[in-house]
């Protein structure tokens, strides 16, 4: 697969577009951005304006305030961000480690049961997560692992298959001769993987890490079920816990949303090329 960015650069001629397509692009961008823009606007409005008949739909708050932000910070939304960072980092570290080892073997050697192993990995990435919830809850309950960072181990179901898949695609691109040379120099398989292959596949490793991090950061169902204790809530769960039974304080929720989206925005802006490569890895045959 050629990288999306390089294809764009190497194409010499710039096309002229008819205005209709420009209009469609503009409309698309507006639809994509509008929800974020609107919560940003709301987050600076005091409660009375959010619920007021005339003020609810004003573009700019009459009396802008940062109270919503101070309130949600006092309610501990940043603790949830901290939990999300911890949980996502743990998951990323061990998943990249485990996926590298397996992908190396799958990409480099042929063995009996290889197709079955790949089918298993692909199958797991497809099945409904709901199927593991009951048994995993019972397992965590019996082992007294509820309300802890052990939840990251259960995250392997949602992150490991795609991580292995992306890694295989990237490991395959490294020429066999490089590894053979290393083996002649006396490297073991273990050394060949970590000293030669892994650093050479750094872009792929990085893509895998980013994709795993985002998947762990976005996980909702497992944390909701296994970590009911507020102290272990991650961002998606904590922000929904701000909804109370009877009233929804949109000012606080929009402020919290703006705060928790910032890390995602930074990741997208910095690593968009890796993300695009991660999304399309394995989807297109070379």
């Amino acid at each position: 697969m050629t990288s999306l960015a390089t294809t764009k650069k190497t194409t010499p001629s710039r096309e002229r577009l008819n205005p209709l397509i420009w209009l469609v692009i503009a409309l698309f961008l507006f639809v994509m951005v509008f929800p974020f823009l609107w919560i940003l606007i709301t987050s600076f409005k005091p409660g009375a304006e959010i619920y007021g008949r005339d003020t609810a739909f004003r573009l700019i708050a009459v009396n802008p305030t940062i109270d919503n932000y101070t309130t949600v910070i006092n309610k501990g939304i940043l603790d949830a961000v901290k939990n999300s960072v911890i949980v996502s980092l743990i998951t990323t570290l061990y998943v990249v480690f485990v996926a590298s080892m397996s992908a190396y073997i799958i990409a480099r050697f042929s063995f009996r049961g290889k197709r079955m192993l790949m089918g298993l990995i692909l199958g797991i990435s497809m099945f409904p997560q709901m199927i593991i919830i009951g048994p995993v809850f019972n397992m965590f309950y019996n082992l007294k692992m509820l309300n802890s960072y052990w939840v990251t181990m259960a995250y392997s179901t949602i992150t490991l298959p795609s991580a292995v898949w992306i890694m295989i695609a990237h490991f395959k691109r490294i020429p066999l001769s490089v590894e053979e040379a290393a083996r002649i120099d006396g490297c073991s398989q273990w050394q060949a993987l970590w000293i030669v292959i892994f650093p050479m596949a750094a872009p792929g490793v990085f893509t895998t890490a980013i994709m795993t991090f985002i998947a762990a950061w976005n996980e909702y169902l497992l944390t909701l079920t296994l970590n009911s204790d507020k102290a272990y809530h991650t961002v998606p769960v904590a922000i929904n816990a701000l909804r109370t039974q009877f009233t929804i304080l949109w000012g606080e929720i929009t402020a919290a949303t703006v705060l928790v989206i910032i890390p995602t925005l930074i990741i997208v802006l910095l690593f968009q090329r890796q993300i695009v490569s991660g999304i399309t890895s394995g989807a297109v045959k070379e």
Partner: protein, 398 residues
């Protein structure tokens, strides 16, 4: 595979076994039992008879407690009768004093315990008959306690295929299946159409087209549970701007309908899903478009093919493998939708995931919940098979 190579794969196999295979097999086992965690007689899987020993012991203690009170109400021979009865009850429950969990009960044991309970009932009745004028404490409570002691003997809750039988007649399940299919088909349809258009636009070399890609990554990258919450606000009956705009456009009769009516919630969920995942579809299709040899398009235009003909004769056939993968991934993803609907409307329209979660975690009915998720599993398998067979691409070749 050498054993060294096997060691490299071992961590993966362990994680997969513990967190994927074991739960699936366990779900299969659950599905054969009437296993409900909030019901004392069914809170584990029993293949044989069981005695709820702690409760049995407690009930016996209560019997003796009331009998002790009655000691003051009767004469001396009566006291002797009661003391003997107390001693026998104590003897009957004593073996279970230290038990904290239900214990297995062989058939002869079960009959013996039932006989003992029957005998105690008989002796209490004779006691009552001996003192017709006295209001004994035991008379008021014996029936309830003895009945409870009998229910402490729990039969097997193995139900075999009855759970599956129940599923076949479960209209709520089929309603959830229909909702899931409607949601999946409509969402994926719009995602495909819009995503294809978007991919074709992004594939052209226009200055600044990169910004379209950057912007479209943002909805994909944020947690579904967060984006669903954003949409809950946009759809809100009083403060939601989308609900208001839709009302003014005449799409809905009044703003609160989006999150309260059946059609409204379905439309709301589909719009939010299309908003979030169309970019993902577009990127997958774009990757497929970019491996198509540009020379083919030049030859087509030399031969005088119009854009429509080029699209149907060159782009579509060559895009087929990518199209299949994108469609398959998106269909399965939409089919298991949970976060979006759980957050948006707290569970309407009820999809299969929502229904399964309510039964399993909400009601603690792990047995029937497992039946539902296994049915989902089957559907997912059928969908995957359908794609591979009908569209005929080879996913697994390497």
């Amino acid at each position: 595979m050498t054993w060294r190579q096997f060691l490299f794969v071992l961590p993966l196999l362990l994680l997969v076994s513990v967190f994927s295979l074991y739960p699936i097999i366990t779900s299969g086992v659950y599905s054969f039992f009437d296993y409900q965690t909030n019901d004392q007689t069914r809170n584990a899987m029993y293949t044989g008879g069981h005695l709820n020993a702690p409760l049995f012991h407690e009930d016996g203690k209560y019997l003796n407690f009331y009998l002790k009170k009655d000691l003051q109400l009767v004469d001396e021979p009566g006291q002797a009768t009661i003391a003997a009865l107390q001693a026998d009850i104590e003897a009957a429950i004593e073996p279970y004093a230290q038990k904290k969990e239900p214990i297995t009960l062989p058939q002869p044991e079960e009959e013996r315990i039932l006989a003992v309970i029957g005998e105690i009932r008989q002796r209490i009745r004779s006691l009552e008959e001996a003192y017709p004028g006295t209001e004994l404490n035991i008379s008021e409570n014996a029936d309830t306690l003895l009945k409870e002691m009998e229910t402490c003997i729990v039969g097997s809750n193995f139900i075999g295929l009855k759970g599956y039988q129940r599923l076949v007649g479960d209209t709520r399940f089929f309603a959830a299946l229909r909702n899931t299919l409607v949601f999946t088909v409509i969402s994926v349809f719009f995602e495909l159409i819009i995503g294809m258009g978007l991919a074709l636009v992004m594939n052209r070399s226009i200055r600044g087209i990169g910004i379209v890609r950057t912007v479209s990554l943002i909805p994909w990258a944020i947690p579904t549970a967060v984006s669903a919450l954003i949409w809950t606000y946009l759809y809100d009956g009083t403060s939601g701007i989308v609900a208001r705009v839709f009302t003014q456009l005449g799409l809905i009769a009044s703003p609160e309908l989006l999150l309260t009516s059946a059609g409204g919630t379905m439309a709301a969920a589909i719009i939010a899903d299309v908003w979030k995942t169309t970019p993902y579809m577009a990127l997958l299709l774009l990757a497929g478009l970019q491996v198509i040899d540009r020379g083919l398009y030049e030859s087509a235009s030399v031969d005088g093919a119009g854009p429509m003909r080029t699209f149907t004769q060159i782009t579509l056939p060559l895009l087929k493998p990518s199209l299949l993968v994108a469609l398959l991934f998106r269909t399965l993803d939409a089919f298991r939708v949970y976060d979006l609907i759980a957050v948006l409307t707290k569970g309407t329209p009820e999809t299969l995931s929502i229904y399964a979660y309510k039964v399993m975690i909400g009601q603690g009915n792990y047995g029937y919940g497992a039946v539902i998720v296994l049915a989902m599993f089957l559907c997912v398998g059928l969908i995957a098979l359908l794609y591979v067979k009908v569209l005929g691409a080879e996913l697994m070749n390497d």
